[in-house]
Symmetry: D2
Subunit: 378 residues, 4 copies
């Protein structure tokens, strides 16, 4: 693991998610740019001293030199955005598989380079668009793609948060790097959560956003990056849509929601009640689809593959995260044993989703600065 030391947030989530299913073990790490912090973090995680490193370069060299069966198998990158690219590059160049936080990089140039390296090396590369790990998101995707809603006409995806309603960056480490262009890259809210919303819309519908009209704002005085995102969408098939996201929606927690409407029906999913999927019809009552190992009679294989417990026992964010790690681990194991992974296993976000995200971010920034209404996505 690179990053995720004491004081960080997402690193701990990665560790809980990775180890939940007994398939992955934390074996080493460079947890902080401060070697002291890295060391202490390693201690708290019960790692032996010699597997806790001061820098990621050091880690890669040292691990590479270990006997093959003792080496780490892959690297999880849980650092601020600007460090994703160099670590991922070094990992790939040294033959390590990668799990990387989103956004994949701070420019589409970097992202493209990583995508090429992945193709060249044949290594596994997951990008943690966590929300695609929820069983009911899998179910939504399945239903849309098998035509249960007919041709898609409208998509609304919204992702409001409120935690940056004040200038929290002055005092809070999480807020600080996320609002600093040096560390977060050119996008604030857009890169941090808007990109999740975009990813979810394309993931579920299988459509591509063709052109957008964006209005990014920095609504808290003194903020250096966008904290509010409003975008009109037009999809490749003629469908229309809206994506809005914010970190100044005071009082909101993490309220990602998506609504997809087709000729024959609609679906609605809320991340904060993730085990429910509303399925809407033209001429009969709305149905409440629910996560559960006992719901195999109506849930898709994709949903069932990512479910752990019976209905009514809530599965949450960490389980969604764990689904990405578990599928990645299955794929890795298949890879190592020369087996063909099942479609369910392969259904985790890869470097391609990461690259697509960077393209969306850059197009949204371009659009927001333009007087022209529509800007196409490359």
């Amino acid at each position: 693991m690179v990053g995720g030391g004491i004081g960080a947030f997402i690193g701990a989530v990665h560790r809980q998610a990775a180890t939940m299913d007994g398939m992955i073990e934390l074996v080493c790490g460079a947890f902080s740019t401060d070697p002291e912090v890295s060391k202490k973090s390693g201690e708290q995680l019960f790692l032996p001293d010699n597997r806790v490193y001061g820098t990621y370069e050091e880690m890669i060299v040292a691990e590479r030199s270990l006997p093959e069966h003792e080496q780490m198998d892959f690297i999880s990158i849980v650092t601020p955005n600007h460090v994703h690219y160099p670590v991922a590059k070094a990992a790939l160049e040294n033959g390590f598989h990668v799990v990387c936080e989103k956004p994949l990089a701070i420019s589409s140039g970097e992202a493209k380079e990583l995508a090429s390296l992945v193709e060249k090396t044949g290594l596994q590369f997951a990008v943690t668009h966590t929300y695609t790990g929820y069983p009911m998101v899998k179910q939504a995707r399945h239903m849309v793609r098998e035509g249960a809603l007919g041709k898609i006409r409208k998509v609304v995806v919204e992702y409001p948060q409120g935690w940056l309603s004040t200038r929290l960056e002055k005092e809070n480490q999480q807020a600080s790097w996320r609002t600093d262009p040096e560390k977060a890259g050119p996008a604030g809210c857009l890169g941090d959560i808007g990109t999740h919303a975009h990813n979810l819309a394309e993931y579920i519908t299988g459509l591509r956003v063709a052109e957008i009209c964006a209005d990014l704002g920095s609504l808290v005085e003194g903020r250096r990056l966008d904290d509010d995102v409003n975008i009109l969408l037009r999809f490749s098939n003629g469908a229309k849509g809206v994506l809005h996201s914010s970190q100044i929606s005071a009082g909101e927690e993490n309220a990602l929601k998506i609504y997809v409407y087709g000729e024959k029906g609609g679906i609605e999913w809320h991340q904060m009640e993730p085990n429910t999927l509303l399925v809407k019809h033209l001429d009969r009552p709305v149905e409440i689809y629910r996560t559960g190992v006992d719901h195999g009679n109506y849930l898709s294989k994709a949903a069932m593959h990512n479910t752990r417990v019976p209905s009514g026992h809530p599965e949450g964010y960490i389980e969604a995260f764990a689904n990405i790690y578990r599928n990645f681990a299955f794929a890795l194991s298949n890879h190592m044993h020369g087996e063909e992974p099942s479609p369910e296993v392969l259904d985790y976000p890869t470097v391609k989703a990461g690259l697509r995200g960077m393209t969306f971010i850059e197009t949204a920034i371009t659009s927001s600065r333009s007087d022209k209404k529509w800007t196409p996505l490359p």
Copy 2:
């Protein structure tokens, strides 16, 4: 009453709303363009034959000629859009107060003319932007305006319906005139419900939409007017926002929702659960404000004035409608008795709200046809 005969929908709602509080009585009507239908409708409503008219012109002349205390006091216009203007004009010119369905007219020119006539005659003129009649909408407006949320930064208002997901206009009278430019005017979904959404946003926040970027669509093949509306908003005070509305959101009923966020908190209101107002704070739990005559300890005068029953006894759409009629009736009574109405009584949508709506509609159409990103509202 003009319109609202057998087979119509909104006329019956007007009658239920108007008579609920025992202040208003239906005394006459021209219920249909077909005199036979008008006559039959009048019979069903227990009206004497001589007060049921074949045309609105006939009605106005006949009523005008009755002794003053026997005349109707005002006219409710519940016809398709294209008839609003001529009836309203005739009513005002003959000294009758008016309650008119929205949109006020089919052009801002007509709307302006009506507004001038109202000013000239000093008559009362209500436009039934029904949703402003809900107690919790009054409460939201009160809280925003007294600064409970601080400066407003973001407004999201959405109004999805699904009933026009198919070409219902081929068989259904309600759908037919609403999708016919001859009868509905230049706007479909935009005029029918988008204008409610816009009205609600300005009503609650007290802000004016300054410029917009609209994408109107006709997503059902063969439809002659827009059935889908997506608009980016910029408000006069720098706040940003999104308005989206649709009649092809398959499976949605009448899901008007509004979210307003300020520096200090936010509010959220759903028309389909109208007696609940969520009030969000930066650093303490969300509060659930609830309609109820027993909630005077925390609800505003404006909310309490428009509430009939104790908390937990749901008040609905007809009651919201009745609030507009009741306030209109109070204002009329005050007017007749030369009294000063209270601020709570005066708080019903007037011809000005109707004119503002027409301006919004026309600007949205202009914006949607333009390649320019932003179009200002006059």
Copy 3:
């Protein structure tokens, strides 16, 4: 109308409900035991002086002496409980139909006498078990009775309120008579709302409660009647159940809920979100049934007959109330014209429901005082 003067609550609801549909007009009243209050109340309701009476006896005599087509058609009794019986008796004996608040009387003896009088006179008699007026309650009843759930096994009905958590009776007129055995009769919470819960359970399921085990409590110190009700139920068909109700459930509004489970599925209805009926199945997703004139494709005739507006336009408590009045008025009109009312029209609570309620109340009191576990209902 008898009762419902200034300061009263339920009288106004009766008037709003009765007049909403343009079928019933308030023509006279004895609104208070204080003739001055009665007179003033009448004035506020725009009644002529000579139709506002000082006592109900006076009213009955005077109205009886009017020409038949000028007389009131029926009497609404909206007084505290102890006055129900004498007014209802006098009304029936003088040939007037009756609408009476629940509980029907303060003893089953009185109730039986009224039931006999109704049978003897052939007059209409409605008891306002309001909650049976909701469209989704009609739908639930329809589905249970047509066997959609299979044989019923379990019923849970709960009715918590919190408004009597303090000794509100010291200062509040509504609370005062409801907690006074002289005016409310032998039951507090049990008679005021517990009886609604019991009525709803039998109304929806068509089953009879066969025996009960009750624990009534007065949990606020100094209270003279029960304010908390917990009852185990056994139904005639072997089904089991629980009824609990309270007026000291601090912070609850009017949270009547019912759950019915059968061999093949279940239903769930909440009075505070009355337009939703959850329908549960053994092996497929829960369905959300919703009120709406546009839902005739899946709602029963009984539900549709009691619905006024399209789905998504909330109908509330006053509309439910109005459904009882409207059906009563239809039945009256049929009665007057010698027509056969439809089953939908006849589906309003009558004196029989009122008598059944009194039986339940008395049995619950007996059971609560007994050491024996089970007490049968006669």
Copy 4:
């Protein structure tokens, strides 16, 4: 681990919960009464052959003989009920700490013996009353105990499930042992989930159930144990209550809910939306308390200690389970290092809660068979 082999359900949950926080590692197991199944299960769990045992007796002997730092530290018992006692007894007698599924045993005699052994040996003993592990349950307990609701007057706890609506025991392993008195003990629904409901009520309120009136039923023909539980409760402080639970509530998933009302307010918690706690007041709006590491400004230390992620990132059943394991592990670590555990660490259900549960079960069975209304808990 004893039990939890291929085909079992709860064993996997225990493993996920135990390993999530990186403090506990699965080192050995006797996963099935069938040695072949045990062996295969161990393989799938990446255990070395020599740590996978055919029987628990074998496991205890073998582990005991390993060098101390290689031995397992504690045993998780995840078998059907009738095996809890012998395994727990053997574990304690051989010096191993224990985590045991509920109910603790199949008689209060067994339970008492285990409680004595725990006291004698000073070993740690957790019983997985999982629902006490949720942060919002901790918060509820904290608020009730610090007096936020005033004196408690009423408790309603309900736990409906629907999965045994048919005779699933004929074909399903989970259903089969749960409805077999040989394996489940004398209680079906009562022991499986009713005991969770009872535990939750006492855990949150700190009150003791003093006497009960129970009606147990077997509503599915041919079922050998109770599948429906309805109980009136009286608490030690005079509060009243209702506990009902069922496994034939068709269409219900795992709908454990609790409502507690005091003189000053109430709380409401639903297991299926576990991150929300409704807090109700006499004279101001209901508040929505929410799980989240960022809610330290209003959540208690107890809630915060058991929370992993920021608000809006749902924590679920496995996390609640993991909280019990994590606290158990902390306590064990403190125990091993001779440290004093914090009150938050010690707040996990122990053998005492297990014993209390058995007492409740036996009293409910006695009460259900009795004609007397009230049966006291010892």
